[in-house]
Symmetry: C2
Subunit: 213 residues, 2 copies
DNA sequence: ATGAGCATCAGTGTATACATTAATTGCCGT
DNA sequence: ACGGCAATTAATGTATACACTGATGCTCAT
């Protein structure tokens, strides 16, 4: 593994997990010492992070971890609704029905995964990730897929803030199942509507839990 | 101006203007000699270009200029329709009407700019650029604006291929004017429809001129 | 003659020394 | 005492030397 990859992965993880909080300045020398590599791979890593929007170049004086405001969350979900709504519709038109029928069935059994002892809900999130990947593959549009991937990075940060509880995850699984079902049925408008509903409920939940802080 | 900025600007320009054709490998030492800077800023520039998608990292062996296939153009316009349609609708809801009334009036006078002697049609493209900027500002959504900016880089490359002729530019100006008018009227659905029409006509024109080669 | 293995080389990956810039602090003048 | 200018310093920006990896081509053995 290249040193720049290591630096990038570590910093990215630290930012997404909120160990590095917004406003923190990431100085090259400081991070190179912390990560045990030289400045060059650190520069490369910071450059990649800034391109993703996780950090922002602060005019000559290092890069700072990007903040996420309440308006940011609204904006992100507005774009997300546009992109994922279109993606769901395209998947309904172009996807393999069998793939989404399988996902639909798996998602209906998701409560088993949530009631599991794993506090991080790895299996549940892996299943939802499989739905995302299936949609990505079905749309046959690398530019749209790329736009969704860029956005997902920021959404993961938001999710870490929301602290999904079991009731919300159960409801979300049902919503995901509805999306998969609509795609499997080849119903583009229904798939888009199901996505819109799911995202609006997610946003409401995020804002509700966020307002408690 | 920093050396890395210079390297980035030069390479970007060369790729967009098709002086560097798809498949060309950009070796660090080679480019550093050509641009008169050391390898470090060249690396930085290539990194930025790859993040934008203008180049693709070819597994350890340098980066290559990204190709644009016919399918790519279809995919780009599919995403563009999604993003710009939404943007036009939001601008109709949130924008300053006066700004778009002014743009509407200016766009109706665009034929004067096209019949001008300037072969590059700087003034015309500057006017269309002002419409884009006005929409960007009106939507109040930095994530959506960012997604459109990322896409525009690739669209400029496509436009260079299409070689817009005067008749098409006249028609496009009318289409742009219709978008500005709908936004000024605060009619979101009309603005989205006008955008859809414009983009479909643009795509047809691009594909028509492209198929001649 | 052909195939496999080794050696050479070209290229990127990393470290570090040096240049440059911008901010902060201290001093001087008013 | 306050404000501005200058010097210092700490950070990034750049260049370059070195390391390492992957590829290509040559040689030797079968």
């Amino acid at each position: 593994m290249r040193a720049s990859d290591k630096a990038y992965a570590t910093l990215r993880e630290d930012i997404i997990e909120w160990r590095l909080t917004p406003g923190t300045v990431l100085a090259e020398v400081e991070q190179s010492e912390r990560l045990g590599v030289s400045r060059t791979p650190v520069r490369e890593a910071l450059s990649r992070l800034s391109a993703e929007g996780l950090t922002t170049a602060a005019g000559g004086r290092g890069v700072v971890v990007t903040d996420i405001s309440l308006e940011d969350i609204d904006e992100m979900f507005e774009l997300r609704e546009t992109l994922e709504g279109k993606a769901a519709a395209l998947a309904a038109e172009r996807g393999e029905h069998a793939v989404f029928e399988k996902l639909h069935a798996d998602l209906l059994r998701a409560p088993e995964l949530i009631s599991d002892t794993d506090p991080a809900r790895h299996e549940y999130y892996a299943l939802v990730g499989r739905l995302d990947e299936a949609i990505d593959a079905a749309i046959s549009n690398s530019y749209l897929a790329q736009a969704m991937r860029s956005l997902r990075v920021h959404l993961v940060r938001v999710r870490r803030l929301a602290a999904d509880d079991a009731p919300r995850l159960h409801a979300a699984a049902v919503e995901h199942a509805a999306i998969a079902e609509a795609i499997a049925a080849g119903n583009a408008r229904l798939a888009e509507a199901a996505t819109t509903m799911h995202l609006n409920r997610s946003l409401s939940h995020v804002k509700a839990t966020h307002s408690q802080h």
